[in-house]
């Protein structure tokens, strides 16, 4: 198995706050990797470092043996790493279909955009196909701002997919979403994973993570604490300490 995404010793401080201190992480090709940890443990900051929104103070990020440390976010996307945000970010005043079209160009030159129309037939077809995949194709003509929270999550997933990235980073895909949709999203992720997509998922919903992921990394105070299969992680005393501050073990097992 080859390592697709390799994070080594990444550090990042915001003023006096050490958000990441020597954090390392490997994501194998074709797997679903989970990233969990208490609030403020640096999960989203790590996402931001990987996808080029935040420049790390130290350490390196490599994607498919190519160094992408500090690369600009549009370049990271063009290489094949797509991400969603914890608080969904869509283009509220564009239509759902236009939202999809923004992502279709991936590594097109910016000058090309001046001379071509908004979309080609095949791009619209691909966009509609992915909208259909997540189940919101009939909303394509609506303005994205009128979508509900759950629909926005689906749209965000769909416009990542339209660019056909190799790795998809999901920041709390199940956050603030009801149970039916959580299961639906989990099912989509499984289907996509079978078709060869690699995932890295940040999530607080333990059931979601434990059922879905092949590997789970636990972060604590800006560093990776433990990495292993869901079963290994669940029984690791270090993890329980990190999450519950060393409180009763029985409670933790019930919660998981």
């Amino acid at each position: 198995m080859t390592t697709l995404l390799k994070v080594q010793g990444v550090c990042k401080a915001f003023g006096g706050l050490q958000a990441l201190s020597s954090c390392s992480l490997n994501v194998e090709k074709g797997t679903i990797a989970g990233l969990i940890g208490p609030n403020g443990s640096g999960k989203t900051t790590l996402f931001n470092v990987i996808t080029g929104y935040v420049k790390p103070d130290g350490g390196s990020v490599a994607f498919a043996d190519q160094d992408i440390t500090g690369a600009h976010s549009n370049k990271v996307f063009a290489l094949g790493i797509g991400r969603t945000f914890q608080i969904t970010r869509i283009f509220a005043r564009l239509s759902v279909l236009e939202n999809m079209l923004v992502a279709t160009q991936r590594d097109e030159s910016w000058l090309r955009g001046l001379t071509r129309s908004k979309s080609s037939k095949s791009e619209v077809a691909a966009a509609m196909e992915w909208l259909d995949f997540v189940g919101i194709a009939r909303l394509a003509a609506l303005s994205a701002g009128s979508l509900s929270f759950g629909q926005r999550k689906l749209l965000e997933l769909a416009y990542i997919l339209v660019a056909d990235p190799d790795v998809i980073l999901l920041d709390e895909p199940a956050g603030g979403v009801n149970l039916t949709l959580i299961n639906e999203i989990a099912e989509k992720i499984r289907v996509l994973n079978k078709s060869g997509k690699t995932f890295l998922i940040v999530e607080h919903n333990m059931e979601f993570v434990m059922n879905l992921c092949d590997n789970v990394t636990v972060m604590h105070q800006g560093a990776d604490l433990v990495t292993g299969t869901p079963a290994e992680v669940r029984s690791n005393p270090l993890v329980l300490d990190a999450y519950l501050g060393g409180s009763d073990v029985d409670d933790a097992e019930e919660a998981s």
Partner: protein, 335 residues
């Protein structure tokens, strides 16, 4: 559908073409020239600021650059006061674009309010330079070669060239809106970081849009210089120009195609007319204030958007076939 949507452009254009043939009074054709100049500027300004949301309050830099380019070139190249000067109008636009590149490189590094403040600051730097450099003639400005045309027909060529610039700016704005580039500008307006994360080269796109918008504004400035015959730094680099074209676009509808055209036509004609009628040139400001109060209170997105929404609601109400949208998608919570 598309015929209904675009079919009204032609009659409107016909009215603009016929206007100077019917109206021979130079007082009113002068108003026409000024209205067209501002329509071109507002449309071109909107093509960047309206689509991208980056409100540029330094567009007078482009206008003044176009005007000074025209004045300096016609003087130094000894272009006689005749129609020959009109060939330099596009040159004014090109020089404005060249000036827009360093301007954009500095200002586009920051966003929103900071961007607005930076554009104002750069504007004043340029205005002060125009006042203090010797090649600009300082505060006494520059005279252009006198055009020995009869008063009765003097305005007509200016009117049609200005109309040509307006058509060009409108077509360019339309083309940009239809292009992938325009979609990227709109995406930047809604969420720049997200756009970047979807592969949009945001800085290159912004700088291109900014530079492109300078072209028509620079041409308008160059035409204005020939029309007026004498330019002064405080009138071609005019803070009121910056605010006027922004207000015109906002009045009609920011980010719409027709909005800036309508806003500039109404506001500039009104201003010119009121100034002529009541000679006290500040009365128009009172009326403008009242007008904007109405716009902000009742049509915050501009006249065009307001009318379009009314129309959509009207046609939805009369259309029985309209399929109701499913209120909720399976498993999604409310927004």
């Amino acid at each position: 559908m598309s015929r209904l949507k675009y079919g009204w452009w032609l009659p409107v254009l016909a009215v603009f073409v016929v206007f100077p043939l019917v109206e021979k009074n130079p007082t009113y054709t002068t108003i026409g020239v000024f209205a067209l100049i501002f329509m071109g500027c507002a449309t071109s300004w909107n093509m960047f600021s309206g689509y991208s949301g980056y409100i540029n309050l330094g567009a007078a830099v482009f206008y003044g650059t176009g005007a000074y380019t025209m004045a300096l070139l016609s003087n130094h190249l000894h272009v006689p006061g005749s129609g020959d000067q009109f060939w330099l109008v596009p040159v004014g636009g090109l020089v404005a674009m060249i000036v827009a590149v360093p301007f954009g490189l500095i200002a586009l590094r920051v966003r929103r309010h900071t961007f607005v403040v930076i554009t104002i600051a750069i504007f004043f730097v340029v205005q002060l330079s125009a006042i203090n450099f010797s090649f600009t003639g300082g505060t006494s400005g520059l005279s252009l070669p006198l055009i020995p045309w009869l008063e009765t027909n003097f305005n007509t060529p200016f009117y049609y060239i200005a109309l040509g610039i307006v058509i060009f700016a409108t077509l360019l704005s339309f083309a940009v809106r239809r292009s992938r580039f325009g979609l990227q500008l709109l995406a930047i307006r809604d969420d720049e970081d997200r756009a970047s994360g979807l592969g949009v080269k945001v800085f290159a796109v912004k700088l291109t849009g900014f530079t492109l918008s300078a072209f028509a504004i620079g041409m308008c400035g160059a035409l204005y210089a020939v029309f007026i015959g004498q330019i002064y730094p405080q009138f071609v680099f005019d803070p009121l120009f910056d605010i006027s074209i922004a207000l015109m676009a906002i009045f009609g509808g920011l980010g719409t195609l027709v909005g800036p055209l309508l806003g500039a036509l109404v506001l500039e004609s009104m201003q010119q007319y009121l100034t002529l009628q009541f000679s006290s040139s500040s009365l128009y400001l009172v009326i403008f204030g009242a007008l904007f109060l109405v716009i902000v209170l009742f049509m915050p997105q501009g006249v065009v958007v307001y009318v379009r929404d009314l129309w959509t609601r009207h046609s939805l109400a009369s259309d029985d076939d309209s399929t109701p949208m499913d209120p909720a998608l399976s498993g999604s919570t409310s927004a």
